[in-house]
Amino acid sequence: MMRKGDFKLRNFHEARWSEPIIFELSRKGERGIIVPEVEKEIEELVGDGVSVLPEHMIRRDPPRLPEISQVRVLRHYLRLSQETLGATLNIDIGQGTCTMKYNPIINDLLANSPKVTELHPLQDVDTIQGALEIMYKLDLFLRELSGFSRFTFQPGGGSHAIFTIISIIHKYHELRGEGEKRDEIITTLLSHPSNAAAPAVKGYRVISLYPNESGLVDVEALEKAVSERTAGFIVTNPEDTGIFNPRIKEFTKIVHGVGGLCAYDQANANGLLGIIRAVDCGFDLGFFNLHKTFSSPHGCGGPAVGAVGVTDRLVDFLPIPIVEYNGEKYYLNYDLSHSIGKVREFYGVFPVILRAYSWIMSLGAEGIREVARVAVLNNNYVMKRILSEVKCASISFPKTKQRIEQVRYSFEKLREDTGITSEDVIRRMADFGFHLWTSHHPWIIPEPFTIEPTESYSKDDLDKYLETLKRVVEEAYETPEKLKNAPHNCPIHKIRPEFLEDPERWAITWRAYLKKREKWE
């Protein structure tokens, strides 16, 4: 175990390959892979295949893709992978709100089985019994953890789950003849941005409730906001600050009182698994992110699953199909009377569903609770050390001491003392192989940074991260230019953002860049 004083800053440098853009690797005549050609008999019978098209539909000039040998393509992407700080290589506690945890390799191995990868969703139901069994059983597990009656795995991410929830709320009121009257969705400013954005897509007016001095929304604020126009209330709890709203049951009661539905954004349920359940707080529906809380890897931003759960009276509104079991056989049920239809083709990202199933099977009831408890322990340990040892950092809403699984901090004092911002600190942390993140917008906490140390990190890991953060903050006072010009040890240096905001010069593809690059000079 590490003792204080043992700590040495890591002498780190990430890979820097200076790889060209893939198009610059093109050499005329090189080939990456050969496509199977047709048998002679087929060619004799049908000719070249393409001539059935009218001339104006034939692409005579092939697409201008690069021509590269196989080994060079492989080397290129391997190098790019080395220039990516994947969570598994990292002590990834600095990506608050995102629940970066260990993604067990055994689950990848299972997900890569041909029994998963080579399955077509529309195969005869007798040939997909294994896949349906896993979906059905994971649904049962999630019901236990939430109290809901049924889950769908169709949404392809957390924001997609929120949109699905809003669609269900919309359909629910429409069916009761109140679709037009109920045109408002209430959320809180510190709930995830998509809690506000997705309802707007569905045509709702969005009301965002602001936190009080303690970081909580006042019950009175909600009482003022609700009316016969309220369609629903969607909230993250604890919010991104890590503060749990203890009066949440009063909130759901008030919304129910005016006829609205209540939805729980549990994208990150990591501190509360087995501790509280959504239905006991009065929620009608909600979701878990299987790629966050339930350990499936983030994949650079998907593929993912936002598993939406609902109470009894909303089961008929779920997207179709849902998986059923008749005691002998699993099957797909398309017969839901008020279904919103579909939000994604087929049934969801099965490899992610499988990983979540396997993860729960490895933990059991006690293990799941241990996940939550250790996530909270780790968070409180990190908070304690930051508050006592990093003097220029503070927690948001310092009146409220208790935090669940993450904390939004502030470097306001650091900036006042030195002019160094949280973004400068973040860039310098990368020089030691650590990621740190600010916060969602709007930045009502000045110079924010958000840390979520999940259950996956040891005390040693947390200590290493914290010692590095402390050194970086010391540098801010002693050699601030080191932070201003950071990063120094990354694949590239500080980027120049001005090209990305200017329609005359932005280039979202290589072909656009080639047309616009003279405007860059």
């Binding site: 990430e14 890569n112 969703p121 195969q123 997609h160 506000a196 897509v201 099977m361």
Partner: protein, 473 residues
């Protein structure tokens, strides 16, 4: 000693700090007595006091593997069969390097790193955008969304915002699943009208289209090839008709067809979308889907994307490429309900994979692939047409990899045929009977580069026997 120690509560391998020794030390450092104290902000009445009804854990990895593999062994995968299933998820060859790259821990477990520390992720996604851009000949492509269905739905909403209109025409040959996604995504903001198809050719009925276009029309959306297989050859006429009303043309494509078929930009499409799964991504029971959207590089289009758009830029060091978000303030991360729709975790890893695939295939690989698929599907159609009572394709039009097989001349339903095919280790095509009742007993067959002559002959042989047997009954 060893026994004594193993009986004690041991740390779970995924949870280092589940060791009671470490917990004690950390609690001391925090200054609390127990783990429960850390939850004191949660009222007691909300706390769950029951026992979670979950199975006993399989803590040993060996037991866990045996258990999960036991369940998975009840699946029969397409490798064991000859499959003719497509319809939005297709069995194409996945080059080994695609898996090698997307299974790298660095890519598999990365998430939201910054442009300098995650440079490789940003470059790989910029390159994917650039490679798909060459396929569709458009200058802007997004970081992928959930699926083609979502890409189409968002393309339609973008078209509505650009034209400031809220009525959209959709070809009735669209995939029923995608139509359901679009309907839910547009309801109640956008009105959808379906445009009929010509029952002979399966292509859009241009008279019906013209009768439905008006000053209210934001856009038309159709798929090429359509869900039912025919390649729409009147793209230019459709564009003309829409553009006369200052409406937009939105086309969904299967990108794997674009080595031999002209991209929609050549018939003046304004927005192109489609499915990336054919490009080096396994079917994964439908989990391999990822949608892309492409447009011209004009501000009026770019500023309407909800997705992240990775752009190339300079760094403070001369000659160094960097990447970053283009016009980030469009997104819900920045502007919440005032944003363009919403953005979040979707399908980035499949975008990187599609980039790897296109890098390997190159211009001539895509061309060869398109040719071989068309030859094989034409061979299959010829062979099936020779079976008494079977018509393939149902529509008189050029096709790419999918086509409708009409079994109305036989005495069997598609369901009966498909059940019988299972005993030949064949997955027959998708049964269209319920979704397209006007087609009667018809099925959507998909043929790719993986179907050898032998496997196609096997299908024809099996169908012949089944149908002959059926008629004899």
């Amino acid at each position: 000693m060893l026994n004594e120690r193993s009986k004690r509560k041991c740390a779970h391998p995924y949870i280092p700090n589940s060791s009671p020794y470490i917990q004690k030390e950390m609690l001391r450092e925090i200054g609390v007595e127990s783990m429960d104290q850390l939850y004191s902000s949660i009222p007691d009445e909300l706390k769950f006091k029951g026992v979670l009804n979950l199975p006993d854990p399989l803590q040993s990895e060996a037991d866990l593997k045996r258990h999960v593999e036991g369940i998975l062994s009840k699946n029969r995968e397409c490798d064991d069969y000859v499959s003719f299933l497509g319809g939005g998820c297709w069995q194409h060859y996945v080059p080994a390097i695609c898996d090698e790259i997307n299974r790298r821990s660095e890519f598999l477990t990365a998430y939201a790193g910054e442009p300098w520390e995650d440079h490789g992720r940003w470059q790989a996604l910029f390159e994917y955008q650039s490679l798909v851009a060459e396929l569709v000949e458009m200058d802007v492509v997004n970081v992928p969304t959930y699926s083609w269905g979502q890409a189409a739905a968002t393309s339609i909403r973008m078209a509505c915002r650009i034209t400031k209109r809220d009525e959209v025409l959709i070809s009735d040959t669209i995939s029923p699943e995608r139509l359901a996604i679009i309907r839910n995504y547009c309801e109640p903001v956008v009105k959808i009208l379906l445009v009929k198809h010509d029952p002979e050719t399966g292509m859009m009925d241009l008279d019906d289209l013209n009768s439905k276009i008006s000053e209210e029309t934001a856009a038309v959306y159709f798929e090429n090839p359509s869900y039912l297989g025919p390649i729409e050859t009147h793209g230019a006429e459709i564009s003309d008709a829409l553009h006369r009303f200052d409406a937009l043309i939105v086309v969904g494509v299967d990108p794997i067809s674009l080595g031999v078929i002209v991209p929609p930009s050549r018939y003046d499409a304004d927005i192109v979308c489609g499915e990336l799964q054919p490009l080096g991504i396994h079917m994964n029971f439908g989990g391999g889907l990822a949608g892309f959207i492409a447009t011209p590089d004009e501000e009026k289009f770019v500023m309407e994307y909800p997705s992240r758009l990775f752009g190339i830029t300079k760094t403070i060091v001369d000659g160094e490429y960097g990447f970053g978000d283009v016009a980030f303030e469009r997104t819900s991360f920045e502007r919440r309900e005032k944003a363009k729709e919403f953005v979040g975790t979707a399908a980035a890893l499949w975008g990187i994979t599609a980039g790897v695939y296109l890098s390997l295939m190159g211009p001539y690989g895509m061309q060869m692939l398109g040719k071989t698929i068309m030859q094989r599907s034409q061979y299959a159609m010829k062979l099936l047409s020779e079976i008494p009572g079977v018509v393939a394709p149902r529509f008189k039009a050029p096709h790419f990899k999918e086509f409708v097989v009409d079994f109305n001349g036989t005495s069997l339903s598609v369901d009966e045929i498909n059940r019988n095919l299972l005993s030949y280790n064949i997955f027959g095509g998708i049964d269209l009977t319920d979704k397209f009742p006007e087609l009667g007993a018809s099925a959507l067959y998909c043929v790719t580069e993986l179907h050898t002559k032998e496997s196609l002959d096997r299908l024809a042989h099996a169908l012949k026997k089944i149908i002959e047997g059926g008629i004899a009954k």
